[in-house]
């Protein structure tokens, strides 16, 4: 019987495999080893605030699994420096909202060193970070800021949608020679699914056609893939054949897959749990109205959260997040 894991466990496994296969891979972040009694290395540790990295300090020791101070600028900046000088660090930014306290080393160093130095350095850094809403974690712990890292030339941004994808994409990210922001959406962290054993990579920059269809393309990524699938089923019931494309990587973006799907269906909805302005959803819609203009049979619709911070109350958070119903409404509006 196929083995099932949740996304957190799949990520843990990917890190372990990467660390076993390359001594230059290290893990660093706040509580990634997990506090506790340092004399008993590897015991009793928590392994990150959500437990994702539990057990890794036991196998790899405190030289390669490092708890940092609560100092994101220093933590990420140090990881950038380490990446530029021979290590392949996996740095955990506990929540993506903490880009606020860690942006500079990503925006002004990691993303630019290679270019500024005329190609003479590489920064093989992976920043793992939890994104998204859905846990009532409110405005400062629920943002989907992958649009922000996607907008920065020199960074790559990956958002998996399932445990198996998380594992393969993370392995590819760690081994990529460019800085990668690897998002772990709250909406999929506890999702359980079949995860292949062993070492495998899913290439960055290639979208995954998770469902074929002919009438409308639903473009999704991360936690919105499940929403798209749910909407596609409902649409099928109503006689509309929906195709679902999982982007997997936001930068580099698989424009070919997007345009191929658009050519096939002529209609597109992009589902993105972030806020709308300068979002991935709008970025893709703009590509469609430029390069895919001749394919368009209807308005391109963006289903996103509203232009507001993320509210706390369950009622409000539900209203904030995009839903399958929102997708159906968007398809309906297309005429």
């Amino acid at each position: 019987m196929a083995r099932e894991l949740n996304t957190g466990a799949a990520i843990n496994e990917a890190i372990a495999i990467a660390m076993r296969s390359d001594p230059n891979v290290i893990l660093m972040g706040e509580d990634v080893a997990g506090g506790g009694d340092r004399s008993k290395e590897g015991t009793e540790e928590m392994g990150g605030v959500l437990g994702t990295t539990r057990g890794l300090v036991g196998e790899f020791g405190m030289n390669r699994v490092r708890d940092t101070p609560i100092a994101e600028m220093g933590l990420i900046g140090t990881a950038v420096g380490a990446a530029a000088t021979g290590l392949r660090p996996v740095a955990e930014l506990m929540f993506m909202d903490f880009l606020g306290t860690s942006l500079d080393p990503l925006l002004n160093q990691a993303a630019k060193l290679r270019y500024m130095f005329g190609g003479k350095v590489k920064v093989p850094l992976t920043v793992r970070t939890v994104s998204g809403a859905g846990m009532q974690a409110a405005a400062q712990h629920s943002q989907s800021l992958y649009w922000m890292t996607t907008g920065i030339p020199g960074l790559k941004t990956v958002v998996p949608s399932s445990p198996a994808d998380a594992k393969g994409l993370l392995l590819a990210s760690i081994r990529d020679d460019d800085p990668v922001i690897f998002c772990e959406p709250k909406g999929i962290l506890n999702q359980v699914g079949e995860v292949p054993e062993g070492d495998y990579e899913i290439p960055l920059g290639e979208a995954n056609l998770v469902r074929e269809g002919s009438d409308v393309s639903l473009v999704a990524f991360g936690a919105t893939v499940a929403i798209a699938m749910k909407a596609a089923e409902a649409l099928e019931g109503a006689g509309t054949s929906a195709e679902v494309l999982d982007l997997r990587t936001l930068s580099p973006l698989d424009e070919v897959a997007i345009l191929t799907s658009l050519e096939k269906t002529g209609r597109m909805v992009i589902i993105d749990e972030s806020t709308p302005r300068c979002s991935i959803a709008r970025d893709i819609a703009a590509i469609c109205v430029d390069k895919g203009f001749d394919f368009l049979n209807a308005p391109v619709k963006c289903v996103t959260a509203p232009h507001t911070p993320v509210p706390f109350s369950a009622v409000l958070e539900k209203a904030f997040l995009p839903s399958a119903q929102d997708v159906l409404d968007a398809v309906g509006e297309m005429g």
Binding site: D67, I70, P311
Partner: protein, 325 residues
């Protein structure tokens, strides 16, 4: 200041605040475990003497900035407990209309600039509040609470630098509870006492026993007075311990069981307060038990009323972003 200069009435109110905080957190521990309240929840139990020791010397015009562990500061600053509970239940009647929750609970009318989900994020805010007072020539002060872990944040360093340069009327209160999440302070903070860090700003620094209301009261009082007189900021380090884990549900495998037991059994700030106030002959056992009963009723009502209160309308998600749209 002699510790028993405070009147019986004052001490009763002090105890009421501490007891309310403790009871509030105990209620939450259960409500979260029962799945009645969602979100990330960090409890202040064990640290009551600090919030109350400091805030009992502040007026509504004095501004306080807090942390992810903010309920205690809110209650100490006089925020309505029922509205707070309603907020945590995500109700429209909450302090923040259900939009904030535990990590953003606030009431600016009471001078409470909010809990803050960003470690260190409240420190520049109170520095700015102190700047307002200084620019406008007012005599109010600002107080920033934060943890030992937060002192590693750049925002701490930059804010204290500014406050020192400008001699702002602000009191920085570090609640050193020995841990940042699961990591012991000594693994990540490279000084023995946090007050050492004040040297980087040539700032006045004082250590207080964070489990002893009277010690905090006295030392905070001096600092607040200096700030009001224009003599600049102080860093006050209060040694303390959190009685629960980092968040509700934290199994705390990382902490030493005996050490935890010792703090909880022998250094409970409410017990210490009761002993001292009783020994000084200012309060009697009855006083305490009366307050205990009143607080219990208040909190029971707070929970019942919160549960019965209306949820926000879904459409409210769109309001309150901008003043002018």
């Amino acid at each position: 200041m002699g510790q028993m200069d405070l009147s019986r009435e004052t001490l009763i109110e002090v105890y009421r605040k501490m007891r309310t905080i403790r009871g509030f957190e105990e209620n939450l521990q259960n409500l979260v475990a029962a799945g009645k309240i969602g979100g990330f929840m960090h409890l202040y139990a064990g640290e009551e003497a600090i919030a109350v020791g400091v805030c009992s010397q502040l007026s509504d015009a004095d501004l306080v900035g807090s942390t992810h562990r903010g309920h205690g500061h809110c209650i100490a600053k006089g925020v309505d407990v029922k509205a707070m509970m309603a907020e945590l239940f995500g109700r429209a009647t909450g302090t923040n209309k259900g939009k904030g929750g535990s990590m953003h609970i606030a009431d600016v009318d009471k001078g409470m600039l909010g809990a803050n989900g960003i470690v260190g994020g409240g420190i520049p805010l109170v520095t700015g509040a102190a700047l307002t007072a200084q620019v406008l020539g007012k005599d109010n002060v600002a107080v920033g609470f934060f943890g030992d872990g937060a002192t590693n944040q750049g925002q701490f360093h930059e804010s204290l630098t500014m406050a020192a340069n400008w001699k702002l009327p602000v009191l920085y209160v570090c609640e050193n509870n020995g841990f940042g999440e699961f990591t012991p302070t000594e693994f990540v903070v490279p000084v023995k006492d946090i007050v050492e860090r004040a040297r980087s700003y040539s700032m006045r620094a004082v250590i207080a026993d964070g489990m002893d209301f009277f010690d905090v009261y006295e030392k905070a009082g001096e600092a607040i007075e200096l700030a009001r007189k224009g003599e600049g900021p102080t860093l006050l380090e209060c040694k303390t311990y959190r009685f629960y884990g980092h968040y509700v549900g934290d199994p705390t495998p990382y902490r030493n069981k005996e050490e935890a037991e010792d703090w909880i059994q022998n250094r409970d700030p409410l017990d210490i307060f009761e002993t001292k106030a009783t020994e000084a002959g200012v309060m009697k056992s009855d006083d305490f038990r009366t307050v205990d009963g009143e607080v219990e009723i208040l909190l029971r009502e707070a929970v019942e009323e919160a549960e019965a209160a209306p949820m926000p309308e879904a459409a409210d998600v769109l309001t309150d972003v901008y003043v002018r749209y």
